[in-house]
Symmetry: C2
Subunit: 261 residues, 2 copies
């Protein structure tokens, strides 16, 4: 299997590329509109076909590249089924394996950051590998104060779905704001300040409700955009319009040239 | 492949267990005398046979369990060939794959922390995996002021042998003193204060020569012991004698009972 961990710098979002060497099929987990061209270049430079984009949840901090990727490269948009997004091509749910060529992806329903958040698990050689989305970050976790966020639910998702995995499970988070790339289940049990020392649900709820975080700078246009699988909305502020303009503006040229390379 | 990351708490040493599912053969990288019984229990509980112990270098901070493991479970002691240790059963060197059942281990000659340090590389599914020994730690590296340590050599080992690996390469260090389990090549390029921002050899040498570290508390008996593959020496201070006494004292019983379970 081919694997790349790709960073979108403005929102510190990690996009993960998984590619099946036998079939050439690929999936991008949580791709970002700003980096759609970079991601297509990476996929093609590795000899892979852009096949799917797969979301962990409706993001509030960046716009997905789902519809742009589909327009540019005929990918299919895959989202958690319970989100009921008409813009999506396929839905995934826990209990049903999503296959990308020979890669078997196990969705895990892990609400709490949002009401319909899913993480994705694969088995690869000596490791179980978790793409934890925003449900679990390195020494942190996603906030729980928007989008049907619920700290009690997030605590349960982490304890039941993640902390029951083997200690050595590799955890690739949806974001990191300090350049860290990876953690493990054991490391988060021992070092995550919101969970370490067997913190109770009550402890966790108190911590989450006391975070006093600023209002998310992109939420007012990112959530509506992502409910349309990344269609840039009309109300996007000028300072964030760049990526949408750039992408729509040069889409024609990109298709012509980009699809040849 | 079966994999376990095991901690010896007194020296914060990570011992790595790799097991071949097809043949049952196993190798312990850098096992520690204090945890020889724990490690044997783990190996056997996973249905594996204790087969090899493999050292990255002659350690100064703990005593290897090589000879104890061999006495208890008939394992073979494997060390870097250039160490010329008469106590060892096999030597490894860069350029020659060391096979443990179907597991292929690539030794990398990486001097600098000690004159004969080797790291070990395996390919597993979507990852290249580096067991970096003490040549590269998480946001740190092994000291270079004893045992033919040489900061210029260590800089070259890290740059040439490690930083030429793919960014996503998983790095399992020989120690961590803060409970961290894993890093990647990209993370160390970006966050290791001794290497980040493309530090030059001169920068690195200045940092290493300015560390002003205390004298290693076990070096006077650990190095002679490890030159005998972990044979506890006569000059071991009483406060550190426990593990050696315990192991020699109950070896007979352990063999009798332990080998049945």
């Amino acid at each position: 299997m081919i694997f790349k961990q790709l960073l979108e710098q403005d929102s510190c979002t990690y996009t993960y590329l998984l590619g099946c060497e036998e079939t050439g099929k690929s999936v991008l987990i949580d791709p970002v509109v700003e980096t759609v061209h970079r991601d297509l270049d990476v996929i093609r430079s590795l000899g892979l076909t852009p096949t799917y984009t797969l979301e962990t949840h409706v993001h509030a901090d960046h716009i997905s590249s789902g519809v742009k990727m589909r327009a540019l490269a005929d990918t299919q948009i895959v989202v958690p089924k319970i989100e009921n997004l008409p813009c999506a091509d396929l839905g995934v749910e826990e209990g049903t394996v999503f296959e990308v060529g020979n890669i078997k992806i196990h969705p895990l329903f892990t609400p709490g950051h949002t009401g319909s958040h899913h993480a994705y698990l694969i088995e690869n050689g000596m490791h179980t590998i978790l793409f934890s989305g925003d449900a679990l970050l390195i020494e942190a976790c996603g906030r729980t104060d928007f989008q049907e966020g619920n700290p009690a639910q997030l605590y349960k998702s982490i304890q039941d779905k993640f902390f029951s995995l083997p200690d050595e499970t590799l955890v690739y988070p949806g974001h990191d704001y300090e350049g860290r790339q990876i953690t493990t289940i054991l490391q988060e049990k021992q070092r995550n300040p919101r969970l370490m020392n067997n913190k109770s649900e009550a402890d966790f709820i108190e911590i989450m409700n006391g975070l006093d975080l600023p209002y998310p700078r992109k939420i007012d246009f990112a959530v509506p955009a992502n409910q349309l699988c990344g269609q840039c909305p009309d109300n996007i502020p000028e300072e964030y319009n760049g990526p949408c303009e750039i992408i729509y503006g040069d889409m024609k040229n990109y298709r012509k040239h980009g699809d040849q390379g």
